[in-house]
Homo-oligomer: 440 residues x 2
């Protein structure tokens, strides 16, 4: 009888499984086939298995791939275009005119390819992206090998009074990606202040019909809450609940200004909040009530937001800042300890995107989405506690290999499906285009 | 007549001078000789000069080396030993017992070598270090090629009643390093709560006699201020001023709990505060009143603190967090804009350590302490504004070359005076020693 040949074996290293027991395994190997984790077994059993490819993970931490619960990939070329401005000036005088002049399918594709490449370098294996021309975002991610959930940012007045356009687009998205295991779709109304009640209701219907989750911005700044109270007589979460939002699986970006009652409502509805700490700090939108959210068992995840307000896609740095910031805000050095923090980037991120059944931890049957993190460097030594290391010590540059659905998208720090020099060259060309268009 | 041969020419790139006009120069080259910057001249004049060595800085930002105004190099091996604990438990049950069991000259030397190497990787060219066995810290830095100011951490009861020991040590330090251009000394009483009035007074005398600056911890946490009020009837700055501290050049680490009057007093005395943002957040000691300090023109600099509370020496990440955090705390996205933030790491850092005359900017006559930062990578593109890039976008891994006093201490990301593999191996050995000693 011949021995079954599996696709991959990863051997050695320390497996940070993020499974329900938070097991960390040494002297183990991981068996991967058909894009999924078959098992993680003791090295003593290695001789019983055979694989087409072997990867040595000695001195590495093997972690679940990082999950980015809120992004705008096509904003890559707006990185650092305008900083240090009040939010309304930043948006009105800089970002919106920039978008008005630049947005087109090819631009979105090119910028998304750049962003997808940068995300992979930072260990991100799934991103939940909201923007326009989302078919081009999905195409770019598929080429990069990055898993993505795309949601077309729905903003009035485009859809006002003509919901058939909206329905056609949802159907087109569905048709286009139904056979692509890397791409999923969701419904992504931009925000309560950019969509009418009618459109928001149509979103809940579409979500129900397609069994898709809803992704939207929520309570990013204080005026948004005040406006909602003024125009609708209730706070944002009550307003959305009244429109049927919470019957779908919802992931809300930001959630800075949620109050206790809203947190409770969201937790009961099993909705999730994507923390975009760097963006909130840089635009000075405020501090998310993370402590209360944790106490109420609200599902929290990490999001990078777009690079225009971040200004990079280093989600590990973002997690580190988040873990430390909320300690200080709450005068509590014990809050959000390292392991709990790392869960936000992995299993809690998967839960937030309704994918905990097949992503977010290293467990048999789940997709083989993972990072190999090299610890043989100065910044990683000595290493007493892998969770502390992941959250407080390491930098993204220590991510050596990234696998998504059993496919090495980065190997020895080299992207496998993209030519980095070409991406850099293209970004430089777009810079010149953007400058000349904005000057004209 | 033969053409003078200079030591180095760096050509191409963008020079972020941080000079009084904040000039950024393109199409220039830098002439370096005897460890110092001779001039930065237009490329059109290149043919008039000759050098022993040429470095191509195309696609690089050339910046002043980063200045770390508060560190504890020998704590390198304590990285991640204990996290997520209340300050008093962290110190009393973990850090102090660890120090009691481990501290010795060789340990300090080895850990400092590790820390110095990590600092260079993060672009740090001068660090202001306080610890014990400081001669071994200085030796380690000299080998690494890192510029250092060492101050022996003065703590009771060692010096109690026998100030002659203290004076002998100061003299020994002075003798040992007087001919070493990389090493300077200062007086470093640990804190007001660990030194008697008598010892603190002796410190001011020693500072005056040697024309040295004073480096101490100040108002890191609230109880320190309360204790000072209780025991001395005045706030820490008034207490120190009464002991003659402010007649010396002083750099104070932390300064979290300084009030308006204290800030004014320090600004008038031209003292400086080293911001240790990550450490303050992680130990939840509070938020420094940075806005008021800036308004009062108090000299601010960045410090990493020790890796036990940080947990790395990535001072650029620390700066990025600092710039964003204080925007959010003050509801002001315009506060501490990128250029002003980058000054904290360079020219303001030099001012803080009383070295603005020969460090902190790229100007003729100053020491050639600088970083070459590669922008040919995904995270750096597109690049519209170099200050925004330095503070908000880039990661330390983009630092390609580091020069200190005209000496390349890192070239193409390779340390020039240290064997990194040996340092990593040694750190792993110490980890085992530390674990077995702490278990016994």
């Amino acid at each position: 009888m011949t021995m079954k040949e599996y696709e991959h074996i990863i051997q050695g290293g320390t497996y940070i499984t993020m499974d329900p027991q938070y097991r960390t395994l040494e002297d183990h190997f991981m068996l991967i086939d058909a894009g999924r984790i078959v098992d993680i077994l003791p090295m003593t059993e290695l001789q019983d298995f055979k694989a087409k490819a072997y990867t040595d993970a000695a001195d590495c931490l093997i972690t679940p791939g990082f999950i980015n619960a809120h992004s705008h990939l096509p904003m890559s070329y707006f990185r650092g275009w305008a900083d240090d401005l009040p939010l309304h000036i930043w948006l009105k005088d800089q970002i919106w005119p920039l978008e008005a002049k630049m947005l087109a399918g090819d631009f979105v594709f090119d910028a998304s390819l750049h962003g997808a490449a940068e995300m992979i370098r930072h260990g991100i294996t799934l991103t939940n992206d909201m923007y326009f021309y989302v078919d081009r975002i999905a195409d770019a991610c598929s080429i990069a090998g990055l898993r993505v959930i795309v949601g077309e940012g729905i903003i009035e007045p485009e859809y006002l009074g003509d919901l058939s356009v909206f329905k056609r687009r949802v159907q087109a998205l569905k048709d286009r990606y139904q056979d692509n295991p890397l791409v999923d779709c969701c419904i992504a109304p931009h925000a309560i202040y950019t969509c009418s009640k009618e459109v928001l209701k149509a979103c809940t219907t579409a979500a129900a019909e397609n069994n898709w989750m809803i992704h939207t911005h929520l309570s990013e700044n204080q005026s948004e809450v005040e406006d909602c109270l003024k125009h609708h007589g209730e706070r944002p979460v009550d307003y959305l609940a009244g429109l049927g939002f919470l019957e779908a699986h919802c992931v809300f970006a930001h959630g800075v200004w949620l109050d206790s009652e809203e947190i409770k409502t969201l937790a009961q509805a099993k909705a999730a909040v994507a923390l975009c700490t760097d963006s909130n700090l840089k635009l000075s939108n405020g501090f998310v009530p993370v402590k209360e959210m944790l106490e109420q068992n609200l599902n929290l995840a990490m999001g990078t937001d777009g690079v225009a307000s971040n200004n990079n896609l280093d989600i590990l740095e973002e997690l580190s800042t988040t873990a430390k910031l909320h300690k200080a805000l709450n005068h509590d050095p014990v809050l959000l300890p390292a392991r709990e923090a790392f869960a936000l980037l992995t299993i809690e991120g998967a839960r937030a995107l309704n994918r905990a059944h097949d992503l977010g931890s290293l467990e048999a049957g789940k997709w083989a989405d993972l990072c190999l993190i090299d610890t043989n460097n100065l910044q990683s030594q000595p290493l007493y506690n892998p969770y502390s290391h992941l959250v407080y010590s390491m930098g993204s540059e220590q991510i050596r290999d990234v696998m998504i659905a059993g496919d090495w998208v980065m190997k020895n720090k080299k992207l496998q499906h993209l030519n980095e020099a070409d991406l850099i060259e293209k970004a430089k060309q777009y810079k010149n285009t953007i400058i000349s268009k904005m000057e004209s």
